[in-house]
Symmetry: C2
Subunit: 340 residues, 2 copies
Amino acid sequence: MKKRLTLKLIAKELDVSISTVSKALRDSAEISEDTRQKIKAFAKLYNYKPNNIALSLKNRKSKTIGVIIPEIVHHYFTTVISGIEQVANEKGYHVIICTSNNSFDKEVINMEILANGSTDGFILSVAKETQQKGDYHHLTEVIEQGMPLVMFDRVIEEINCDKVIIDDTLGAKKAVQHLVNLGCKKIGLISTIDYVSVGKLRTQGYLEALSENNLELNESLILKVDDFDQSEEEISRFLSDKSMDAVFAVNEHFAIYAIKAFKEQGLDVPKDVSVIAFTDGELSKRFIPSLTTINQHGEEMGAQAARLLIKKLENDDSEDEPFETIIIETGLVERNSTKR
Amino acid sequence: MKKRLTLKLIAKELDVSISTVSKALRDSAEISEDTRQKIKAFAKLYNYKPNNIALSLKNRKSKTIGVIIPEIVHHYFTTVISGIEQVANEKGYHVIICTSNNSFDKEVINMEILANGSTDGFILSVAKETQQKGDYHHLTEVIEQGMPLVMFDRVIEEINCDKVIIDDTLGAKKAVQHLVNLGCKKIGLISTIDYVSVGKLRTQGYLEALSENNLELNESLILKVDDFDQSEEEISRFLSDKSMDAVFAVNEHFAIYAIKAFKEQGLDVPKDVSVIAFTDGELSKRFIPSLTTINQHGEEMGAQAARLLIKKLENDDSEDEPFETIIIETGLVERNSTKR
DNA sequence: TTGTAAGCGTTATCAC
DNA sequence: GTGATAACGCTTACAA
């Protein structure tokens, strides 16, 4: 096992002082051309690389970004990470990813650990449990310590920090408007219960779209799924005997369950019923029929979040900079689950 | 902005020496009950947390694991990460994830950066480009420096390190055997070109299964997809006029394209043709018909890899321990794309 | 029982 | 042009 080369070792080997080596390697003009060459050659030959940890300690910054997300086995979040990574690497930052598994405790612990020097700032999408609990002390603490925090997707309004979100309400409106434009009149909604903020917002968009088009609101056409594991049956039950001509689902999975349920009722999508979903993932593309969706542009969200964070990190007097909220525009991806 | 509390600050505040504080906080018997209480109370009150970076520097270990994967937007890899994280966190390790994007250069750079103190060891699945290139200097270097390395999924035989793999050949055999058991005789294969080791191994399993069942090998029933982006058309072309009664695809996507192609030919899956796929993902579950697959147990792979690595990390004389190769057993998940 | 000092690997300041 | 020294935050012999 080869020992890692340090400045000290080089210095000893070349019989100069540590500071000379340090300066030579950083091309300081103080050092004579001669020694500089010699030292650099030696360092190169033995493949010297400075120790990041020592640098972090010295500079009091780690050049790394901590990302905390609710789940990793989730297409949308991986696209966000991908966007974060690209921008971060471009600007010389690493990324540490931790998952909260939607647990409040794990979110808190992860933040605490990373905040102890490992990370210069955070990009975070809060855990479901945190949203329910309404306990945000870990977030405020980190902010008070002067660590920049950027929240994305599932954000907390009361927390003062940069945010990157999509306009869920507008996206939902777009979806419903698309259905209306196709001539649909009896449009169902499959959403989640309201403490999940996106569920609430998308429901609101649905309502607004209806009213803007002078369509009557019919509460019996709205389903709020409580338990994801039971959702397939819930949806199937909900969809029977409602004679809708379209359904707007707040995610791919609900949309697919809806399509299955319709099929079982002998209805064809899109001939008899149109289905549109929020969230554009692998499933939407491949399913038959492929799904018309509202795209959330995860990669762009990640990229923007990283840019916001790095801007704060590299701005010395970011203290008095105001916080920004970037709204990513959603896009309609027209495929085969809505008729033309 | 609150400043982070350090031992030094506590010492000054309480008018004791730094080492007294350090010892007190670590419950050293050297310190009197009195001062210990006082110091601990103060630390607790002001929420002292030791600085990880300083600890890393001091202990010359970071208690973090570097994970390098080809892509993050990929269901299988996320399940592996999930497994790694669980075990790692349990044992007090963090996880840094980097993606190589299947680029050799990015893989090398990531490893170099992480190797400079950020990480105690690596878990890695090699980039496609690295496999093609056959240049493994970054791997051997890291090993020579005494950093344990565990490879998973896409491993390199020549490299001496712990490995976690699935038995691709056996898995493929299982798949084909399943088809044979269902009475299929003319079984096609949709694979990738051979430099991707899994493509090669799974192809081999296919061949072995055929010969074990005394089925004739027909080269025209084998497709090796070169360009993923073109695969849909390639597969569709390949499948026309072959009159197979079954297809084994080395991943979900190929299987789905196959099903689509069959449909367009007016054939029903599974009534007319059976389709089975390697890799069990989201798509397999939700697609209609749902896919019969060979499950790779990504989470378990990740967990095992993490266990192997941590074992090496915590074993002082791991130097002379032999390297292990753990083989994860694949499982057949029977769903609707194969007839009964 | 408490404190001093060296060291982890680096850089910046200042002296020679 | 080169080197000694202090500092980043922490632990740990060793001294007092």
